[in-house]
């Protein structure tokens, strides 16, 4: 339950908005629910609806509308390359294609270990530093600018090493 797990954060979020305007807390609460696992579950949508006083359907419509929200479990990381016009003029389409080839996947697909989904996204407001991608995970969002395929592949290796470490730790538990 979100209320048990994040009591203080939820109070802080609700305090940002005028009394009687609790619905405004929907997006911050979805962000909270997505923390650590990068998706918001049905149960959490019901709870968010209860906290702010709207129906589950209304919460779900917000989840569905915005592209950074997910309503089902994801791979651990989404590596999202901007291929909009200014970036494409600076080679981002080829960057995405080459990166996917080296990883043995197509854009939009997930690596065979289930760890990283590589896809194209719309403008990230970093047009002067293309190729650029954002890495979305349960820990948040990070920008990687002026990238080469080699840079990106070494990041992928680091993420794999980190995941292996977590698995070992989980096994010890």
């Amino acid at each position: 339950m979100l209320l048990e797990k994040y009591a203080n954060e939820i109070k802080e979020i609700l305090d940002k908005y005028p009394p009687g305007e609790r619905r405004s807390a929907v997006m911050p609460l979805i962000n909270l629910a997505q923390r650590d696992k990068m998706f918001v579950s049905r149960e959490e949508m019901i709870e968010i609806g209860r906290i702010v006083g709207i129906s589950t359907t209304e919460v779900a419509s917000v989840v569905g509308f915005y592209s950074l929200y997910y309503d089902h479990p994801q791979g651990s990381y989404r590596l999202q390359v901007c291929t909009d016009l200014p970036c494409a003029l600076r080679g981002s389409e080829k960057f995405l294609e080459d990166l996917c080839t080296r990883l043995g996947i197509k854009p939009g697909e997930t690596t065979s270990d289930g760890l990283i989904t590589v896809e194209s996204v719309m403008c990230l407001a970093a047009c002067d530093r293309a190729p650029v991608f954002q890495l979305q995970s349960g820990e948040g969002l990070e920008y990687y600018e002026n990238q080469t395929v080699e840079n990106a592949l070494s990041l992928v290796e680091r993420l794999r090493a980190k995941a292996a470490q977590y698995r070992r730790r989980d096994n010890l538990d």
Binding site: P18, S24, V26, M27, I54, Y66, L85, L89, M122, C127
Partner: protein
């Protein structure tokens, strides 16, 4: 004060009213900002000025909205409905137009000037709460802005009874979650209210019916960042920059086929040629410039001939070459680029970002993207090009908000001004 020389137009050096972090190291530190004259304008306003006097200075300065519409800022503030309270101020930090990356640099590097701008606007319209709506991808920037807000509160620049007066103000961040449409001010307000980001019918406009149905001023980050300098140095000082109808400096986000992409702060009225060839270092690998998009993906395509290159980049001159200045996100396109490929990129963007509320935009961008894909891939006939032109014209003038309108700009101007590219594409 700004130490370096200021001349009317034509000065080759960049002049920092906004990107002051390039002159003053660590201006993102509250102490450093304060020592550089920061918060004095806000303190003076609260202690010595009537709210309407602040609005009056901004009106006289000639500042126009930097988000794209170019609406006179002081005039907008003067529309606030004083028969209804509370009032709100909302900073639009949803920066999502392909080719635009200026607000991000301000918020990352000169955040206190932006925050002081919000405070001055809030005082001018007597709002006690302000929200900054940042696109969800600016997650890390929002976290830092939260720290800056806390630092201002601790130093007595935000909170209750500011500077011994009875004026109080709090500023909060609110994160979006990946929706270009939320840059449209009424969609943005819907989003803060916890709804899908779909635009409202206007009028009523936000100064009479805004956030939570209350009078609200929505301004772009860059617009607000001008305010502390205008209030500190006066309207006449500000009018030393730029042209009569387009006062001040502007951050030009330069991207695309250019050697030195980046943000350049220059007086409004600087020519495309100076921006692209002097500051931007020209076109890579000896290729030739072919087209310019002055307002990001929402722009029509300017044929980059000598006349266009010598055109001043200000609100009144850019229309003479069949475009708008908009947010001044200048995308440079060289002669290696095929225009059918280009409009295929832009139509896919708008199709993805259409909020789905109105039919011309939702269906129109869908069908345009099918046609542009076919044309760009060489699977089309000239009839398809004419059909695309027809579809775009059916969208134009019929949409609920500007997004749908903008989706047609590059398509219509591309077909009209670069017909040969389309003939070549269908005859491959």
């Amino acid at each position: 004060m700004i130490e370096h020389g200021i001349t009317k137009n034509g000065n080759q050096s960049q002049q920092y009213v906004l990107l002051r972090h390039r002159d003053i190291q660590d201006i993102d530190n509250l102490e450093v900002y304060h020592k550089s004259g920061g918060f004095l304008a806000f303190q003076n306003a609260v202690n010595t000025m009537e709210p309407s006097e602040v609005t009056e200075i901004v009106k006289k300065s000639g500042l126009r909205g930097r988000g794209g519409a170019g609406f006179p800022t002081g005039l907008k503030w003067s529309f606030i409905d004083n028969n209804q309270f509370p009032h709100y101020v909302v900073a639009n930090a949803d920066e999502s137009e392909p080719g635009t990356f200026k607000d991000r640099e301000i918020m990352e590097s000169n955040p206190y000037q932006f925050l002081e701008g919000i405070a001055l606007c809030a005082y001018a319209v007597q709002a006690h709460k302000a929200y900054i709506y940042l696109r969800g991808e600016f997650w890390q920037i929002a976290a830092r802005i939260d720290q800056h807000i806390a630092a201002m509160k601790a130093a007595g620049y935000l909170g209750e009874n500011l500077f011994g007066s009875d004026y109080s103000l709090d500023i909060y961040t609110h994160l979006g979650a990946g929706a270009y449409i939320c840059g449209e001010e009424t969609a943005l307000l819907e989003s803060i209210e916890g709804k899908m980001g779909q635009p409202r019918l206007r009028p009523p406009f936000p100064p009479s019916y805004g956030l939570f149905g209350k009078p609200t001023i929505v301004n772009n980050v860059e617009t607000l960042t001008n305010i502390p300098m205008i209030v500190a140095h006066g309207a006449d000082w500000y009018r030393n920059f730029g042209t009569e109808k387009s006062a001040g400096t502007k951050i030009f986000s330069l991207s695309g086929n250019v050697n030195n992409p980046g943000n350049y702060e220059l007086p409004l009225g600087t020519t495309f040629r100076e921006l692209i060839f002097e500051h931007g270092g020209g076109i890579p690998e000896g290729r030739q410039i072919k087209a310019i998009m002055a307002a990001g993906a929402s722009s029509s395509l300017i044929v980059a001939d000598e006349n266009a290159l010598d055109t001043p980049m200000d609100y009144e001159s850019v229309p003479s070459v069949g475009a708008q200045l908009g947010s001044a996100s200048v995308i440079v396109i060289d002669d290696s680029v095929s225009i059918p490929w280009l409009i295929n990129k832009t139509t896919h963007f708008f199709r993805h970002e259409s909020c789905g509320k109105c039919t011309p935009c939702r269906e129109g961008t869908f069908w345009m993207s099918h046609l542009t894909e076919r044309i760009a891939n060489g699977n089309a006939s000239l009839d398809d090009v004419d059909l695309l032109y027809d579809v775009a014209n059916q969208i134009k003038g019929k949409c609920f908000c500007a997004l749908g309108e903008f989706s047609t700009e590059s398509v219509l101007s591309g077909i009209e001004r670069f017909r040969d590219d389309f003939t070549n594409a269908v005859n491959r």
